[in-house]
Amino acid sequence: MITPRRQSPDCLSDLKLDRLLSGELSGELESSARAHLAGCAACAARSLELSADRRSFAESAPALDLPGPQGVASAGLPAVLAGTVPARIMPARQRWIGGVVLAAAAMFALGIGLTEILREQAERDGSSASGATRTKGGGVTFGFVVRRGDRTFIGEVAQTLHPGDVLRFTFGASSPEYVGVWGVDAEGRVSPYQQSPELARLPAGQSQPLPEAIELDESLGEERLVAVHCSAPHAVSEITAALAAPAGASPVPAALPADCASESRVIVKALP
């Protein structure tokens, strides 16, 4: 097992040191922690290690792929969280969703009232009250509709999905956009969720369905989807390469083409 670091019961755990370094401790707790550090070489050394770790993080912190302020507001989250975290793409594990791309997405619409569902989603988007889509600058929305057996419903924030569910992605913008959806796994493998070699051109409007759908496979867990939308045509392979390309020492993939931006969604897959 791991060789113990703490020399005495009074020694500070990593948790206590992290709390101290992040400014969570105050008053007597902070004083006693600092007093211990002043007299304990082992804890002082560990504190230096953690401080160096923090500096390294500050200098090369991986960017987060999080929705912007409007998306936060539309999801009904407190405005306090509408921070300025950079909206970039970072690899995320997508092993489980490597489901079958259904090229004939028309089957998705057969007998299940997709038109009504999309109209409902568009109404939600219009009122900015939906948890089904994430909204960023320019009124862009990204969501999905789920077909489960005979049921069809709009995917919500952190939607729980089941193996066999079929997802039809939707996208909305105030001008025509070229759109595609990807998953990026832990090893940086990027999986496009469309068979077409080009991004799909969608007309302006809310909740426009993408032409293809995917069926989820058997694996379980919380995962992330990335939609890339561009104002000009691009090959799917070009976007795939941009998402997969390393960016030097940073884990953040190389930048997308200048006319493109991205949206992402977290979904949770569990057994029924």
């Binding site: 992040s22 993080f57 977290v266």
Partner: protein, 156 residues
């Protein structure tokens, strides 16, 4: 207690989340995914943090859960592959064997004990700290640690 703005929280607490995930998973790529997932999840569901503990304590717990879940999923996949006579290539660890050994133990322990093992062996937390992070009594922690030690002994 409420969460500070997420960008500030990321700068102040992100290093601890990343380091913790790295310690548990032994993979920088996996650790960065956990870091991402933790903060994305906080954005999606900020009400997860109920203010019953410090934010750092909460993030330690959240990171631990996600990392252990990933370790268990890896184990499940490996077993599935072995059943189909297609074992994954052996991965040579670049880190100390002690951490690799701990990771193997964590994969095999029941969920509750695996979490206690992380706090007790890896973090060297006091029983009071473990009680806070598990939101249970110190007496219960004492029992869990005893069960953990017993299980680890029997596994040797």
């Amino acid at each position: 207690m409420t969460l500070p703005p997420l960008d500030r929280l990321y700068q102040s607490h992100g290093p601890a989340v990343l380091r913790r995930a790295r310690q548990l998973l032994g993979s920088e790529a996996d650790a960065r995914e956990i870091l991402h997932d933790v903060f994305a999840s906080l954005l999606e569901k900020p009400e997860q943090f109920a203010g019953h503990s410090s934010i750092m304590t909460f993030l330690y717990s959240m990171t631990t859960h996600r990392a252990l879940s990933r370790l268990r999923n890896e184990r499940g996949r490996r077993q599935l592959l072995e059943r189909h006579h297609d074992p994954e290539p052996r991965v040579v660890s670049h880190e100390g064997s002690a951490r690799a050994e701990l990771r193997e133990v964590l994969r095999s322990l029941p969920e509750e004990l695996a979490e206690v093992a992380v706090y007790h062996y890896l973090d060297e937390m006091t029983q009071d700290e473990i009680a806070e992070i598990l939101t249970c009594s110190r007496q219960w922690v004492t029992k869990l640690v005893a069960r953990l030690k017993d299980q680890v002994e029997r596994a040797r």
